[in-house]
Amino acid sequence: MGSRKSIVFLFISIFGTLLFSCQSVQQKSETVEFSYELIDSTAHFRIDRASSHFRLKVKNPFAGSDAEESYVFYPRDSAKPKGVSAQHFIPTPVNSLVITSSTHLGYLKALNKETAIAGAKNLGYAYDRSFLEQLKSGEIVDLGEAEFNREKLIALNADAVFAYAIDGAAYREVDNLRRLNQSAVMLAEFMESDPIAKAKWLEVVALFFGEKELASAIAQIQAIENRYYEMQKLAKQADHKPKVMIGLPWKGTWYVAGGKSFQAKLIEDANAEYLWKEKGDKASLPLDIEYVFEHALKADFWMNPGPAKSLNDILERDHRFDAFQAFQQGKVFNQNRRLSASGGNDYWESAVVKPDVILADLIAIFHPQLLPNHELYYYQNIE
């Protein structure tokens, strides 16, 4: 029948045109005029140095993306480097920044550069008191929660925006930022599964403030790394590996971090066994409550039970949870020791540059005999 054929043809041509026009964004190839010396790199960033500038490459900035972006940082009083292509050219040191995550605040505090923050989006749950006060008073411009307040952002005219995207939708937002003339640099520290790699993004943040800051950041990281490895070595002295379970279910389903995640790595480095290390990748997995009962009933430790601040909170979620051995023995710990009055948790803010402290906490929990004098920093025993 005539109309049926023409309709099928119409659809195929629409589909085809759309799919065909899906060209992936190509980065322009650089003219190789500079010789670059590698400063540092992780799975998701790479800092190189040329005589006149630093080059930052961020790759795979969110799950499933193969994108790679380049940024050039050059001293403010020099000319903008020619002959190199980048998404943004940032004159350093920057005077005003827009941040979009509490980890950004954490990095800046570690560098003592939080005064550079001029505006913030989605930071209503920050921990730092003075930051919150400045946000409330308007000294730091509140740029919205879920969506950017575009007009205020434009009016602010910051030197750079710390942006991130966790998926394609958010990536579109980054595009929008660039259309508004913002220098949006993508930070992808959350993609790192290695605690040290995550901390190393301190160096990326330091780039915004110049060479000296970068050097100081590198030194800081070096110290952190040394302390971390020392802790790791210490943990190996333990005689047994306790079993550890994590999380609190929502409506009967446990969403747990996968075996290759940041959480899992820390636990392994603390010489304990993460019960679900075999399961899946980095992503969080939903587990049925029966499965959890089956495998975790005899776990030695129960970590990070959601927002629970007391054992009662856990019982309120589900009265059956007193069956867990860890619950009965009082070996339940949560990373919410440092909470602000408004509900902000410092773990999500400063822990990103303190992996050695997290590790120390964990070792003190799992193997108290190894660190008898350690005072827990992020973790508290839930009672």
């Binding site: 029948m1 109309s3 049926r4 309709i7 659809f11 629409i14 589909f15 759309l18 899906c22 060209q23 992936s24 964004v25 969110f62 799950a63 499933g64 993306s65 193969d66 994108a67 509140d142 740029l143 919205g144 879920a146 969506e147 307040n149 575009r150 007009e151 205020k152 434009i154 009016a155 005219n157 966790i166 998926d167 394609g168 939708a169 958010a170 990536y171 579109r172 937002e173 980054v174 595009d175 929008n176 259309r179 508004l180 003339n181 389903t253 969403y255 992503a283 969080s284 997995l285 939903p286």
Partner: protein
């Protein structure tokens, strides 16, 4: 004839209101820009460069989006109400927005599950369009074999439910962050369209609106039922297909770029019928274009009422405006089917 004069007068009123509301929309925002400053921006002598940027990169695209979106969704909803002779039908009744949502969900949340993740910025709209097209395609194939238009309606509703169910399953397996990202898409937003995207939208939807107007005869004929329509020379099967296609294009592309924006498509056709006291589509379609655009421009202005940079999601505002109107219609008429 007085009826004709009234209709003309009403159209004149609506035509005059449009540029006024457009201008109102342009003058409202979280950064205070006085009227004089706005004029300076238009003349090219902006006092601050941020004013120029705000006006041309934020407010103007948003206003155009509101205009196109309101017009498109209203006409799309009108087409659905007339085809199915159902006063509660709207642009999304056949599952178009659910299909779009499925496309977006796959891209936004599917990255971690399936490892797919395209990084171009047109990924989201493209995924939404493909999702909507898929639903349309299934409907088409089925409608060629169906005799009864009500069965088509039920099928559309079910397809929408299936798509929503699949989205639910995907949501089940994702992290909080991505969930929030998807939820934000479902709230709908008029912001963030580039001029290139606006041009595409204007071109395609503009053509679709003209096509809708050219469908006024079958649409009117369907008011009498399919038997009489056939006896008046309307080819029912292909008319149905075109009406569904045009309605789907109007709703699908908008949803791809702005997320699902509800209620406008359901209320505005009723408002037009009440205002013009007519069911003749030669009058209703242009009326819906004007009223839809104006309603959304107004909703956007009201969404910023809280002030201090707080902006309500457009979906909620259009619902809050819409629900009392619908209730008023129902109470006034006592039975909505009579006016319908």
């Amino acid at each position: 004839m007085s009826g004709r004069r009234n209709t003309n007068a009403l159209f004149l009123l609506l035509l005059l209101a449009l540029p006024l509301l457009f201008a109102l929309n342009l003058s409202v925002g979280s950064v205070d820009i006085s009227i004089t400053d706005l004029f300076l921006v238009l003349k090219g002598e902006a006092t601050k460069s941020s004013h120029e940027l705000i006006f041309f990169q934020s407010r103007l695209p948003k206003a155009f989006t509101a205009l196109i979106c309101g017009a498109s969704l209203s006409v799309s909803g009108l087409l659905m109400q007339s085809l199915f002779r159902n006063p509660l039908a709207g642009p999304y009744i056949l599952g178009i927005s659910s299909g779009a949502g499925l496309g977006v969900a796959l891209v936004v949340m599917g990255a971690t599950i399936f490892g797919i993740g395209l990084s171009a910025s047109f990924t989201i709209p493209l995924a939404a369009v493909l999702g909507a097209l898929l639903i349309l395609f299934i409907l088409f194939l089925v409608s060629l074999r169906l005799k009864d238009v009500m069965t088509l309606l039920i099928l559309g509703i079910m397809l929408g439910s299936i798509a929503t169910a699949i989205v639910g399953i995907i949501q089940y397996f994702t992290t909080d962050f991505q969930l929030k990202s998807f939820l934000i898409w479902t709230l709908g937003s008029l912001e963030g369209l580039s001029y290139a995207e606006l041009k595409l939208l204007a071109a395609i939807n503009g053509l679709a609106l003209i096509a809708a107007f050219l469908l006024n005869k079958p649409l009117n004929a369907f008011l009498l039922g399919e038997d009489y329509a056939k006896s008046m020379g309307i080819v029912v099967k292909s008319s149905r297909l075109f009406i569904i296609l045009i309605s789907g294009i109007l709703a699908g592309l908008i949803t791809a770029y702005c997320g699902p924006i509800g209620f406008v498509g359901i209320i505005v056709p009723h408002l037009c019928r009440l205002l013009f006291k007519s069911s003749n589509h030669r009058i209703l379609i242009p009326a819906a274009v004007l009223m839809g655009a104006e309603l959304l421009l107004l909703s956007d202005v009201l969404a910023q009422l809280p002030g201090n940079g707080v902006k309500l999601p457009i979906n909620s505002v259009s619902s809050i405006i819409g629900i009392p109107i619908i209730l008023w219609i129902i109470f006034k008429k006592r039975s909505i089917s009579k006016s319908f």
